[in-house]
């Protein structure tokens, strides 16, 4: 809309006509208090806190609903306005318990702040307050009715934002209350309940302490915590989250996760896992001492030095006697990029083997190969918020990638985005879809063919050929398309769909995976047949830049064993050692423990998982909330991970890998180029000198480090030394250091080097089970699930009560 000029408190402000006055003022730095207004949600105009005086208008106006027009004149701070706001506060406080000293929101409560500002603590109302006991609506959502100021934010965020509609208002006037969707008379124990996705958005958005979180309530005061912005460890969306941490006797503990820092790719959003499921770290089964198997078969706690010496000596010995081919290395999906990179470099350059893999939850190898040679085709999670048209094939974001689902809903609501969904089940997001195509089982490949123009596959996609035809017509008429692909699509199917998409000039792609760093694990080369950046493994050609990595690593020039082949090798007695960092392949791939009895197994994990119990050495690992580095989400958005919590006794995977290499007698400086002037075989932890055009960036980084009293990577345990190398060697990882270190996300596109021969990705098409999606639901997160009390409570809760309101496909498998 055309710009108009208005006057606020004597100041001329220009903004597009029709903009809400409250937003115009915010941009101009004029504060208008608001309780019910919340950007992105429908307007409520319920609280009257935002009132302003408009010239020539008889009554005070609500700034949250006033759209600006040319020449309007407003006053936001006159005695009359202040008095009106004060009166509103007095009314709100009329029945407010004022139990701030014990209220969770005390110290970060909007009502407190406003009362402080307007001095409305004295009241005309002397009636006794109407007390109600607090109610437990679910294991994670509690309601303190007297504190509620009826702003309806929770009702709107649950309905409009979450598309759950589990909260509403009942009664009227001063007896109005917020109620959950399972009334007492229908609940199993006669207490009102919430049957919902348990995201906690309502708690987050509540301006007061009326809705509180089961995991946080009455635990601490906001000012007693440190707040650390990092990345959620659970799904592949990689939400930025702010963790509230507090010191304990053996480290520091996370007591809260929220999205105070709304600067992230997830905007306002966190799902229940990001918000509550950090408690696995405090599980009593957590191992905090290295364990070594004794001759009597028992695992005995030993010192770090003893455990690492044992692993190092044993690895060196087996390497000598059996060679690198007899080693298998399996990395995890929740390692940082630096760790994943280091792990594969360790495997390739120290163990001299390409037998390295990870539990693949999506086929990123095929994804990168399909996009090889293109530019700007990778989508960021941010695109899901703004794309005009989106095609979702497969997947179930509501359950598996909740932030993606949130963004898509917001995009449909705010921008009228056209969402097209093709799925074999009626996923919940279809409610926002312009067109939903019910695809027959195993029909995705046929769908890709059909979209690309092969009409003969129509009947394998769906019996409804008319619906299919109009679905394709609609897609063809789009000029740009964001194509989100579920992890069911792999190998050739995936390639076919991408090939079709590439015919649309503005199409961008993303492949949705399950864990915090599934994408990073693949990008960093935890793959037997691809080096970092999906670089093909083959004969070394010194003139070919694609050989640069292999040249530096001196790694074998033929592909290694994939995860399944590693266990096959064990079965026939060809696996002398297995090194697992943060994965549980024995449970995931249903490996028979007997096949591993002659293999020396080292496992780095937090718990004695099915894999760890078989190990000869178990090393207690830090989790993603306890270390620093960076991760790449499903979309390839790179974000910084900051150490928030701490636990005495555990070590980061990074440190363990380096120390094992050291104990093996490897040159640690070669593995992690650290220290000033370190210069071995061209590997140098430089400050940017070798990076030419980018050195400005790196120099700023150095300045920043110095300004913050940080030594530039003086220790072999400093992940940023590894990041230097990643940046230097990994195609596609030309990252901006400053962007990363300021806690911002940046999008990196996969940069597969086009395949030199047709060796391609054979094993993916032959062995589909290599990619095994975790299919997590809202209340599961792979192997972490069973160690998280909150996830268990939520699962129990969901089982216990009848699912009335929510399409049960959204919550239960």
């Amino acid at each position: 809309m055309a710009d108009v000029t208005i006057t606020v408190d004597g100041k001329k402000i220009t903004a597009p006509a029709g903009t809400l006055l409250i937003e115009v003022c915010k941009t101009a730095g004029i504060e208008i208090p608001a309780f019910c207004y919340y950007p992105g949600l429908s307007l409520q105009a319920a609280c009257r806190m935002c009132v302003v005086r408009q010239e020539k208008v008889p009554k005070l106006q609500t700034a949250c609903t006033t759209q600006i027009a040319e020449g309007q004149v407003f006053f936001t701070d006159t005695p009359e306005v202040v008095q009106a706001r004060k009166a509103t506060l007095q009314l709100l406080l009329g029945n407010h318990p004022l139990d701030c000293p014990v209220c969770d929101a005390g110290g970060e409560c909007e009502l407190q702040d406003m009362t402080f500002k307007y001095g409305a603590a004295d009241s005309f109302y002397a009636e006794p307050k109407n007390h109600r006991e607090e109610q437990k609506w679910s294991p994670v959502v509690y309601f303190d009715r007297p504190r509620c100021i009826l702003c309806y934010r929770c009702v709107r965020v649950c309905g409009e934002g979450m598309d759950v509609f589990a909260l509403a208002v009942e009664n009227r006037g001063s007896s109005s209350i917020i109620v959950p969707n399972v009334p007492a008379q229908l609940a199993p124990d006669n207490l009102a309940q919430l049957d919902c996705e348990q995201c906690g958005m309502c708690i987050d958005i509540c301006p007061v302490g009326a809705l509180t979180s089961g995991t946080y309530r009455y635990k601490t005061r906001p000012w007693e915590m440190n707040h650390v912005a990092t990345v959620c460890t659970h799904c592949g969306d990689g939400c930025k989250t702010t963790l509230g941490v507090r010191s304990t006797s053996d480290g520091s503990q996370i007591v809260r996760g929220d999205n105070r820092d709304k600067s992230g790719i997830n905007g306002d959003f966190l799902c229940n896992k990001g918000r509550y499921a950090f408690d696995f770290a405090n599980n009593s089964e957590r191992i905090t001492q290295p364990l070594v198997r004794q001759p009597n078969g028992e695992l005995k706690p030993v010192s770090w030095e003893e455990a690492l010496t044992y692993v190092g000596t044993k690895f060196a010995e087996l390497l000598n006697t059996h060679g690198g081919r007899s080693f298998g290395v399996i990395g995890g999906n929740r390692l940082t990029n630096e760790e994943a990179y280091l792990l594969q470099k360790f495997a390739r350059s120290v163990l001299h083997t390409n037998n390295i893999d990870h539990h693949r939850t999506a086929d990123y190898a095929a994804f990168a190969q399909s996009l090889a040679g293109t530019a700007g085709r990778g989508a960021s999670l941010r695109d899901t918020l703004i794309a005009k048209a989106v095609l979702l094939v497969g997947g179930d974001p509501t359950n598996q990638n909740p932030a993606t689902a949130w963004n898509l809903r917001s995009n449909v609501r705010h921008n009228g985005a056209r969402l097209y969904i093709a799925n074999i089940t009626e996923i919940k997001l279809r409610r926002q879809a312009r067109a939903f195509l019910h695809v027959a089982e195993y029909g995705y490949g046929a769908l890709a063919e059909y979209l690309a123009g092969d009409d003969s596959t129509s009947s394998s996609v769906t019996p409804d050929s008319a619906a299919l035809a109009s679905f394709r017509d609609a897609l063809r008429s789009e000029e740009s398309l964001l194509i989100l692909i579920g992890n069911e699509l792999r190998g050739a199917e995936l390639k076919r769909l991408i090939d079709f998409g590439l015919t649309i000039p503005g199409a961008k792609f993303a492949l949705l995976a399950d864990y915090a760093n599934s994408r990073g694990a693949a990008d960093m080369g935890l793959l037997p047949d691809l080096l970092p950046g999906y670089t093909h493994i083959g004969p070394i050609d010194t003139a070919d830049p694609a050989s640069r990595i292999a040249l530096e690593y001196h790694s074998p020039t033929s592909p290694g064993l994939d995860l399944l082949e590693i266990f096959d090798a064990a079965t026939v007695g060809n696996l002398s050692a297995l090194y697992v960092a943060g994965a549980n392949p024995v449970a995931r791939y249903d490996v028979d423990p007997a096949t591993l009895k002659n293999t020396f197994i080292v496992v780095q994990d937090m718990f004695l998982t099915e894999t760890a119990v078989l190990a000869d050495v178990v090393l207690p690992a830090a989790n993603l909330y306890e270390k620093s580095g960076c991760v790449s989400n499903s979309y390839g958005d790179l974000q910084q991970v900051k150490k928030a919590a701490d636990r005495a006794g555990v070590r980061s995977d990074f440190e363990m890998i380096v120390r094992i290499a050291d104990k093996m007698g490897a040159d640690v400086r070669k593995l992690v180029p650290f220290g000033p002037g370190s210069n071995s075989e061209g590997i140098s932890a430089d400050m940017g000198q070798t990076r030419g055009a980018e050195s400005g960036e790196a120099d700023r980084h150095a300045v920043w480090l110095t300004a913050n009293n940080l030594e530039p990577r003086l220790s072999p345990f400093d992940p940023s030394a590894m990041l230097d190398e990643i940046q230097r060697l990994v195609p596609g990882y030309k990252l901006l250091r400053l962007q990363l270190l300021s806690g911002n996300d940046q999008h990196l596109s996969p940069a597969a080097v086009p395949i030199r021969d047709d060796a391609g990705l054979v094993q993916i098409s032959n062995r589909r089970d290599l990619v095994l999606p975790a299919n997590d639901t809202l209340f599961t997160s792979g192997s972490l699930t069973r160690y998280s009390a909150s996830l268990n409570d939520l699962q129990q809760n969901q089982l216990r009560q009848p699912i009335i309101q929510i399409d049960n496909k959204t919550v239960v498998d």
Binding site: A166, E170, Q805
Partner: protein
């Protein structure tokens, strides 16, 4: 979506509801009339009523409850066979509405929104029922009685009780 196969309502009312949802530009506009008709037929708005109406209008049960709880003339518990609604709004109040209400309370032995043990009468204090010229007034089910005196109230209540015995 909104087809209801086993309705809890009489065939006549179910058929009427089938039509009612089609006459508004927005289906959910039929909510309040449906609640009122259901209450008249079933006696109150039961859980079953809430669920069927929600289904008919493609609403969540919770939406129906929100609207239902807003209006004091909709009830979620059975009323007596004869629901006595005594007006105490301004005209009635000036002409002795509260005396009438108090008399009813004493005579029936129940308070506002209560029902007699035998389920015969229930009592409600209500706002203006549009019979101000002949205040004080009360309404029993849908029958008006006005220019009331305590004595007249007794006669009326006796009559209902007698009618029931017939």
């Amino acid at each position: 979506m909104s087809t209801v196969t086993k309705s809890i309502f009489t065939p006549e009312l179910a058929a009427y509801f089938d039509r009612l949802v089609t006459v508004y530009p927005l289906k959910r506009s039929a909510l309040i009339p449906m609640l009122l008709y259901s209450q008249d037929e079933v006696g109150y708005v039961s859980e079953a009523v809430i669920q069927e109406i929600a289904k008919r209008l493609d609403l969540f049960d919770l939406d129906v409850r929100s609207v239902l709880s807003y209006y004091s003339m909709l009830r979620t518990k059975p009323a007596g066979k004869y629901n006595v609604q005594v007006c105490t709004n301004i005209s009635c109040m000036l002409r002795g509405g509260y005396e009438i209400l108090d008399h009813c309370k004493r005579r029936l032995g129940i308070e506002h929104k209560q029902t007699t043990a035998d389920g015969m009468f229930s009592l409600e204090e209500v706002e203006c029922i549009g019979d101000c010229c002949s205040a004080p007034a009360m309404q029993v089910n849908y029958e008006f009685h006005d220019e009331l005196t305590p004595q007249k109230v007794d006669e009326i209540l006796d009559e209902y009780a007698a009618e029931d015995r017939k």
